[in-house]
């Protein structure tokens, strides 16, 4: 959180400002009308397109914008800081043409076939977590439920031992908390993570099996196995991209249902609505914004952009743009036409979107099956994660039945 509060988001935006963190939607609405591309000198300079059209244009323009780094910080890694052409976490930090190669490698593992096969495992996991909450009047749906689901699923997919789950959660914490630390500091923080992953990689080399780690180790580029730094980078990506994102989406959805008993009652009584409801949860509470860097000085969308300026791609803001969505500021649980961009647009579409949807659907299905009526226990104590992934962290829910 910044100690220098923003006075005007049009000329000085900051996505870690407490007002933005608490409730960004009125800010974005104002920016859409006034700018529609907001500017800041913070973080060394950056731009925030607030409309669907602006977000879409930049997300698809890999000629003028690089994904070398996608998380805003005060520093910027240069091309020389990163293993070329792989980048830190391929393919999210890769640009064309290497991007397509790195992405093609991982997409089959996240395609609907293998992902849908995980449904029984995810359901069992949710039921087990809910068993642990049984009998409590107030449960923390953030820290005791949503937070555990994605890491447990990903631990299972990577084929890391179940008894390592606490250690694994600690690594997730290191990776997510340090996400905007300078590169050198980050490498240092990563040491225990790297040691553990290296051990797992070695163990999988000796005993290959049917999991994501063995899949990456067997993958080939030009007839050669992947460089180990590529395997490691992709594992880190899977952790960074697959955990607080989905955990935030699950938490926001439960928060919504706690605040909107009519929507909760409809979902309980009409479970067939779940697929469209999931898309509306994703539109209305899209958790993820991603960054780009401007490649060269240029005039773009009427803005004098400079090389290495940040672009914050507000997919959640695009999802509230009234030019694209009727009643954009209303949550409509059975919204039939919903072209939301919660998973991004263009070549960097979230590779884990099928998994995220599945986890979100099952997590909500099982939660409302166990607790068909509930409300917020203490609205004031709900905290929202700052930064580029938005979702409730502390989420006390009073169980009514």
């Amino acid at each position: 959180m910044t100690d220098n509060p923003v006075k005007d988001f049009a000329t000085d935006w900051d996505h870690s400002d407490s007002q933005w963190v608490a409730d960004p939607y009125p800010i974005w609405e104002d920016l859409r009308e006034r700018c529609p591309v907001a500017h800041t000198e913070r973080y060394g300079g950056g731009w925030f397109p607030a409309t669907h059209a602006g977000v879409s244009k930049i997300a698809k323009d890999t000629d003028n914008f690089t994904s070398r780094t996608v998380v805003i910080g005060n520093g910027r890694p240069t091309e020389l800081d990163l293993p070329a052409p792989i980048g830190l976490a391929p393919p999210i930090t890769s640009d064309p043409p290497f991007h397509a190669i790195a992405r093609r490698l991982i997409l089959p593992a996240f395609a609907p076939g293998p992902i849908n096969a995980l449904e029984p495992m995810i359901r069992e996991l949710c039921i087990k977590l809910l068993d642990g909450l049984d009998g409590q009047d107030v449960v923390n749906a953030g820290s005791s439920y949503a937070r555990y689901i994605p890491p447990s699923v990903i631990r299972g997919m990577l084929g890391f031992p179940e008894e390592d789950i606490e250690q694994f959660l600690e690594f997730v914490h290191i990776i997510l908390e340090g996400i905007d630390h300078p590169v050198e500091e980050r490498l240092e923080e990563f040491a225990p993570v790297e040691a553990y992953f290296t051990k797992q990689i070695e163990e999988h080399m000796d005993n290959p099996r049917d999991d994501l780690t063995s899949y990456l180790l067997n993958a080939e580029l030009d007839g050669q196995n992947l460089a180990l730094e590529h395997v490691f980078g992709t594992m880190v990506l899977i952790l960074v991209a697959g955990i607080d994102t989905t955990w935030s989406a699950i938490g926001s959805s439960i928060w919504h249902l706690a605040n909107n008993p009519a929507d909760l009652a409809r979902l309980v009584n009409e479970p067939e609505l779940m697929p469209v409801a999931v898309e509306e949860f994703l539109r209305f509470y899209a958790p993820v914004t991603m960054a780009r860097l401007v490649k060269e000085d240029m005039e773009y969308l009427g803005c004098p952009m400079k090389q290495d300026d940040w672009i914050l791609l507000g997919f959640p803001a695009a999802n509230r743009d009234p030019d694209v969505f009727a009643d954009a500021d209303r949550f409509i649980i059975d919204r039939a036409e919903n072209r939301h961009v919660a998973f991004g647009l263009g070549i960097h579409r979230c590779a884990g979107s099928n998994l995220a949807r599945l986890e979100l659907r099952i997590a909500i299905e099982e939660f409302i099956k166990r607790f068909p009526t509930f409300e917020l226990a203490d609205a004031e104590s709900v905290t929202w994660a700052p930064g580029q992934i938005r979702g409730p962290r502390n989420l006390p829910i009073r169980i009514l039945s």
Partner: protein, 64 residues
Amino acid sequence: MKVRIDPDICQGQGRCFSIAPGLFGFDELGNGVVIGDGTLQADTLALAQLAQANCPEHAIFIEE
């Protein structure tokens, strides 16, 4: 009427085959593909249009 997916535009958002699994499937990368030759009947046209209206990438085309 026929429906087609432009493979150069499709990014595997996955909406079409969830909404209309009889009309659309997916390839090994998870990108959408039309099942059969894409010919639409009166009852499947509306479903194809719904899938089209939900594709974030605007990759679905319905043509004479």
